[in-house]
């Protein structure tokens, strides 16, 4: 049994070494990747467009960007008050 184990170890070691060497040789003889100056077959990509100035409003004092999902964005005033708010909305 001991002899069989040793033979198995040798066999696994040999197969690993031979497999590694074969892979090394295959890669060494394969085609090299395209270099930057070899542009004839490369896909030409258009430059990415500049972002629109939509984010110019996105700083601290504006909007409610800090709110998490499901957080209440408004509540309706419950108590009756005689004072009318300065701001009113109803369409134009």
């Amino acid at each position: 049994v001991k002899g069989l184990k040793n033979a198995l170890r040798v066999w696994i070691t040999l197969v690993s070494i031979v497999g590694f060497a074969a892979s090394w040789m295959t890669l060494a003889h394969s085609r090299k990747p395209l270099q930057p100056q070899q542009t004839t077959n490369a896909v030409s990509l258009e430059p990415l467009p500049a972002l629109p100035p939509i984010g110019s409003f996105d700083n601290g004092n504006f909007g409610v960007q800090g709110l998490g999902q499901g957080q209440q964005l408004f509540s309706r005033r419950s108590q009756r008050s005689n004072s009318m708010p300065l701001f009113s909305t109803g369409g134009s």
Binding site: P52, L73, T89
Partner: protein, 300 residues
Amino acid sequence: MESVRFRAMNTDILLAAEGQPDQLMEGFDRARQFIVDSEARFTRFSEDSELSSLNRSSGAWFRASPDMISVISIALSCFKKTQGLFDPSILPDLQRAGYDRSMDLIRTEGVLPAMKGTTVRERVAFNEVKVDFSEGMIQIPAGMMIDLGGIAKGWIAEGAARILSSYSPACGVNAGGDMFLVGLPAGEMSWQVSVEDPRNLQAPLTVLEVGPGAVTTSSITKRAWKQGGQMRHHLIDPRSGEPAATDWLSVTVIAPHAYLAEVYAKALLIAGSREAGQIVCAEDHIAYLAVDQDGNIQEG
């Protein structure tokens, strides 16, 4: 709180801000000038506006201002977000329904009879509009005409509030119900915004307590007129090319940006109660309050 009122974009404008009156005057002047200049750029009712020039150049590349590039690119994004319910290319349908002049003129002179026009099914989709950010150019497809009335007012209100905020920590701009609020009034935990009853424009329906951000209402009872004995309004359903047949009278939207609130208020009003959930399901930071024909309020 100091305030200034004036009329622009065929609606009432309110600028309000906390601070020293002498310092705020410059802020009010600059915000007002921004609104006047932006109206001149985005109106479809002037042949000299940049929007009219863009519409005349349909089919060809048009060199546009940075502001026009910004609004068109936002409009393209909102077209996708609302699954096409917000569609600036419905202008021919809007004109066919009678909204071919400013609302101030329609209210005094009335509307022309219905005209035959290009129906929605024959038109090119709005997302065929191309924007070249690096060159500052826009190309709208041949024959397309666009109206930015559904987005520009919110964009302008937010821009004006941004200018005003350089002079005040707590300020707001209300452009005919499209408002943007910055900061909070001293000693307050929220802004209070009155919502009009679409069935009785003189009476408030409720009062909202909101944080900084945008509040906008879209209604089918204000910009409405009779054409050939038939009631018409300005909210065109892009799917039919006709004024939307909706079960809601008004929708108020609370959102991080005024243009977003304006777009979603219109899209939700067109969608009505049955489809509203599908329109806002992907948006975390949008809340709405809709009013139906009986005055019932639905929140979402």
